[in-house]
């Protein structure tokens, strides 16, 4: 019966009503809430939320019955977990060996100068963040940058800054339009 089902589903939901928690619950269920599942659960959480907030870590700790200190220890050990939200737009610069040899440093420097942020930081308006990857494995096309998931090779500092500016300007305009509409 549909009504009953929906109430049952509600009961499993996180009090905040955020259905992204369902993905985490699913992974935990898949592993029968064993503590071995910690890394997999954190992976799911990172994917669903984009970063691991304190609340999330507490949630995982309670449900897997693992001390919060261990959850925090594991989460901070691995590079893929982040603890603050990324900007609306993101640029990843590959800092692998091949990219380094072909001048990826100059690209990150140019971007850092343009936006006043270092790698791993986000602009104060939350529109743009700059991150670094160890190697994207597209060394044939070095140096490589990734704009919002789109990989482009043989990048130059000028082209990357131009592209980043275009993206941010567009985002600003859109935000302005939305503000006007409200």
């Amino acid at each position: 019966m549909p009504p009953e089902q929906s109430t049952k589903k509600k009961a499993e939901e996180h009090p905040s009503g955020d259905d992204r928690y369902l993905a985490i619950d699913r992974t935990m269920k898949l592993f029968a809430h064993e503590s071995d599942a910690l890394l997999e659960v954190l992976n799911t959480a990172q994917e669903a939320f984009g970063y691991l907030s304190e609340d999330l870590l507490i949630y995982v700790s309670r449900h897997l019955k693992v001390p919060l200190s261990r959850v925090y220890g594991v989460a901070t050990f691995y590079h893929m977990f982040t603890f603050s939200p990324l900007g609306e737009h993101n640029c990843i610069i590959c800092a692998g060996t091949a990219c380094h040899v072909k001048g990826s440093d100059q690209i990150s420097q140019a971007l850092a100068e343009e936006f006043g942020i270092g790698t791993g930081e986000t602009t104060p308006d939350g529109l743009f963040s700059l991150t670094m990857a160890r190697c994207l494995g597209t060394c044939g096309l070095a140096p490589v940058v990734v704009f919002d998931g789109e990989v482009s090779g043989r990048a130059t500092p000028e082209a990357v800054v131009k592209r980043a500016l275009a993206i941010v300007t567009l985002a600003k305009e859109r935000a302005l339009l939305e503000a006007e509409a409200v």
């Binding site: 261990r70 800092a95 380094h100 190697c135 060394c139 044939g140 070095a142």
Partner: protein, 570 residues
């Protein structure tokens, strides 16, 4: 499903493929995709779909890496009764031209005479296409053709990569059509686990993850352990910057890795296995996951593999980005959901590994070599390579070279052959300066050693290591102290912090390099640096720390003058 039924599936797929007059393969591996292969593929598919042709005129197939990544997107056309042609830098425009050449829009519009009954004779069509192709080549399309005779291809010996770029990675049937799972069937049907271990030992296969431990020996150790549960782990945590061999094999030929894994499991008596794959490789994760699902459906995985009484199941664990997890004990901790920190060995994983059970951990490339060894025989494999390093090795060739990409070469090939023949030399008027092998754990080989063979022993003697297969070429525009600092920066970041020499030593080394690079170094600093490097090398707990000083030590050895030049005169 037993093997004869699987073979039937393969034959059926082969027959289906042979119906097509033209098969157009488009590389959709990461490198080509970032060069725009997505649009190229769409253009090819639309072009073929728009043709006024019969059903079996042309098929567009997505494949994996064809090797020459620097010329991506790559497209290969296999027309019936013609040699395959490889095109490079295929933009959507070029893709349309290629389609037009092989699959003309409408032959009758192009001045072909019709028969009395209004049809075009097959002979005329063939003739017509040949003339079109000739014309097209004149038009400049031929500039996009990459001759298969160039040393980049002819110098290679493809074993692990024999099917990549040919086979559709998402199709179990296609892998079967290429002779896949034949090795597994042979092992299950005709060999005892002991014989399998012996065969691998005789082939001379050594671990391709870097250390080069004989694989057959490792398997035998686990096979002899008496335990009710044993595990196989595929190490796909390829963390070296500048290396992407394992990713390519997992993405482009996932069933080959799976077959190797199941053969290994049978040989050692394991009933469960894990793929440990870097989280940064979403496509590899997706393809391996799909391969596992398809293998389960065809009963190649699960209870009673291929109808025998051997059972084996596999799952995936996703790594979250830690270079140290390439070390086997650290990897085991990570699979168990803990911080990926290494521990003191012994006990080795072969006696006490995952959840204290005997465990084999093999690199992706190692396991991907296994099906070929079983199919071709240990003697055939042992015939490739040198006396102590047998078989082939896949390298990710990158840096300042004309041709970069993925290559597979016989062990013992010289550095010069790789740089000048396969790589086509350094572009511009620059000069080859050094080759860096083994990533942050390896060292630099200067141009005076161009005749040195590439095998485990020779590389160690030169102060570098084979490593997992990153091969970065630098020209004379790169300063070696800065290059060494780059790797030290990596090691500082990736040191897990468990043992003091690595945690503190790497930071100290980096500080000393910074001081030198800032022009504040003194004469005696070089000596201090060397001593510290040796200390870290000798006293660190695991492979990461023990090899972290290699880039500094090897550049100090071969390019000491560059360090000395940084020290200001008194």
């Amino acid at each position: 499903m037993n093997f004869s039924k699987l073979e039937e599936l393969g034959q059926k797929e082969k027959a289906r493929q042979q119906q097509y007059e033209n098969r157009i393969f488009c590389c959709t591996s990461t490198a080509c995709l970032s060069a725009g292969a997505g649009q190229t593929l769409t253009a090819l598919e639309q072009g073929v779909a728009a043709c006024d042709c019969h059903d079996f005129e042309a098929e567009v197939v997505q494949t994996g890496c064809m090797g020459l990544c620097s010329r991506g997107p790559l497209v290969r056309v296999e027309a019936q009764e013609e040699e395959p042609v490889l095109y490079g830098d295929v933009t959507p425009d070029i893709a349309q031209q290629i389609v037009a050449q092989y699959v003309p829009l409408n032959p009758s519009d192009d001045g072909l005479d019709l028969d009395d009954d209004g049809a075009i004779s097959p002979h005329d069509i063939l003739h017509f296409r040949a003339s079109l192709r000739k014309a097209g080549r004149k038009k400049g399309l031929d500039r996009r053709i990459i001759p298969m005779e160039i040393p980049f291809f002819s110098k290679q010996v493809r074993v692990v990569l024999s099917e990549t770029g040919q086979v559709n990675p998402d199709s179990l049937e296609d892998y079967l059509a290429h002779g896949g799972y034949k090795g597994l069937a042979q092992v299950l049907g005709e060999m005892t686990p002991e014989e399998v271990c012996d065969e691998i030992l005789r082939s001379g296969l050594r671990g391709r993850g870097g250390a080069g431990f004989p694989t057959g020996l490792k398997w035998n150790l686990v096979r002899q352990e008496e335990s009710s549960r044993k595990f196989v782990i595929v190490n796909g945590d390829e963390g070296d910057p500048g290396a992407y061999m394992d990713r390519t094999v997992m993405e482009d030929d996932p069933h080959r890795v799976l077959e190797g894994m199941i053969i290994c499991a049978y040989a050692v008596g394991a009933s469960y296995g894990y793929f440990y794959i870097r989280g940064e490789y979403p496509i590899a994760i997706r393809r391996i996951r799909r391969a596992i699902r398809m293998a389960k459906r065809r009963r190649i995985l699960g209870k009673s593999v291929m109808g025998t009484d051997f059972s084996f199941d596999a799952d995936i664990r996703i790594g979250a980005g830690a270079f140290v997890c390439g070390e086997e004990t650290a990897l085991i901790h990570s699979v168990e959901g803990q911080r990926g920190m290494p521990r003191i060995r012994p006990p080795y994983p072969s006696t006490s590994g995952l959840w204290e059970a005997p465990t084999v951990i093999n690199n992706v490339e190692t396991l991907a070599s296994v099906p070929s060894i079983i199919r071709g025989g240990a003697d055939w494999y042992a015939g490739i390579g040198t006396d102590k390093s047998k078989g082939t090795k896949v390298f990710a060739l990158a840096g300042q070279l004309r041709n970069t990409g993925l290559i597979e070469v016989p062990m013992g090939i010289t550095l010069g052959e790789i740089v000048y023949e396969i790589g086509g030399g350094v572009p511009g008027d620059r000069e080859f300066k050094a080759a860096q092998t083994g990533g942050p754990s390896g060292g630099c080989i200067p141009n005076t050693y161009l005749d040195s063979p590439i095998d485990y022993e020779s590389l160690t003697k030169l102060g570098s290591i084979m490593g997992s297969g990153g091969l970065v070429i630098v020209d004379d525009s790169t300063g070696m102290p800065d290059f060494a600092r780059f790797f030290m920066d990596f090691c500082v970041d990736e040191s897990c912090g468990k043992c003091v020499p690595c945690r503190v030593g790497t930071v100290q080394i980096r500080q000393m390099l910074d001081k030198l690079l800032a022009g504040e170094g003194k004469e005696e600093d070089l000596e201090h640096l060397e001593r510290l490097c040796k200390l870290v090398k000798d006293t660190s707990l695991c492979g990461l720390g023990q090899s972290a000083p290699n880039p500094v030590l090897s550049t100090l050895k071969y390019f000491r003058h560059e360090y000395e030049a940084l020290i200001p005169a008194e």
